[in-house]
Symmetry: C2
Subunit: 186 residues, 2 copies
């Protein structure tokens, strides 16, 4: 089966601070044409940070598209100067949570919504956390509350809807799995 | 802690077929202002469909933002006529996979990336599948290959990177959890 959609014309609609919107006319496999509206994004990292007593570090912040606060695992977008996502992960964990991690494991990479967005998130497990005294400052327009949550506390935030984004519901399922594996000694 | 960002000005940048881009100037809790670029999206549904012999139904399609094919669980966006997400779920499962489900369970709702996008996905478990003879036609510009995968087959597609979007990696972790729970009789 032939799937490829060839680009016929590509038009930059918007070049923003964060987002870049492109509109392309594509040639479909059946010879017809269609319009694809796409967002270009620099990519991001996210971390599942466990404290030494088994809590997960999350952050509460206001998310303007939803007009309310959301509790999420720490994350941040790649900067031009990042030669690899791991560099961003170390920086963003410290900026957002004041923690450094001893042990990093790359878990997966994923696209939040590849139908119209090319953002790619690399997800890490961050363990062996120690508080940084003289931590990196946050971005100027970030207002963040740092939370250290037990599984039950985080589950309550998920039930109330404050934990609701793709990377964090993945982290919750990862945590549930990990607890089950520990319970049965796997 | 005060989090709210008040909208000072709101500007429609682009009104597309699918995407609507808004640029807002907001008042931050510290009295400064910042720019928020946001995408408005009508919302979507996604389904984790299990066949009666325990395979998961997925679809392969070309995703222009990545310029390659991606294997995903079935999904579709809400139409104006949908009074609730469930109506879209029933339609999209049939349109994309030619299956109807006897047993539906709402698993969760999530936002792929709430930092700049308001898309909300309602995720269902769809079981008790039967093939529809006279199925709903697909959208004109959709080219889809229907796959029925064992866990091992799906895992191989995840390892190769063809399974890579947020809803489908969540479905994979959900599946792994379900298999583990069955194994230990929970």
């Amino acid at each position: 089966m032939e799937f490829e959609e060839k680009t016929l014309t590509s038009e930059k609609i918007f070049d923003g601070v964060l987002l870049h919107l492109v509109r392309e006319e594509v040639l479909l496999p059946n010879g017809k044409t269609s319009i694809r509206e796409m967002i270009r994004h620099p990519g991001a990292v996210a971390m599942i940070p466990f404290t030494n007593d088994g809590k997960m570090v999350m952050v509460r912040q206001f998310r303007k598209p939803l007009d309310r606060t959301v509790v999420e695992i720490p994350a941040g977008k790649l900067e031009r100067s990042d030669t690899e996502p791991f560099q961003a992960a170390v920086r963003e964990l410290e900026e957002e949570t004041d923690y450094r991690a001893d042990k990093w494991t790359e878990l997966t990479t994923f696209y939040p919504t590849p139908a119209y967005l090319d953002e790619r998130i690399t997800l890490y497990l961050a363990e062996g956390l120690t508080k940084v005294q003289d931590s990196l400052p946050m971005d100027e327009d970030e207002f963040i509350e740092i939370l250290e949550l037990t599984y039950e506390e985080a589950k309550a935030l998920q039930d109330s809807g404050e934990i609701c984004d793709s990377k964090t519901i993945y982290a919750m399922l990862f945590w549930e799995m990990r607890l089950l594996q520990k319970k049965i000694g796997e």
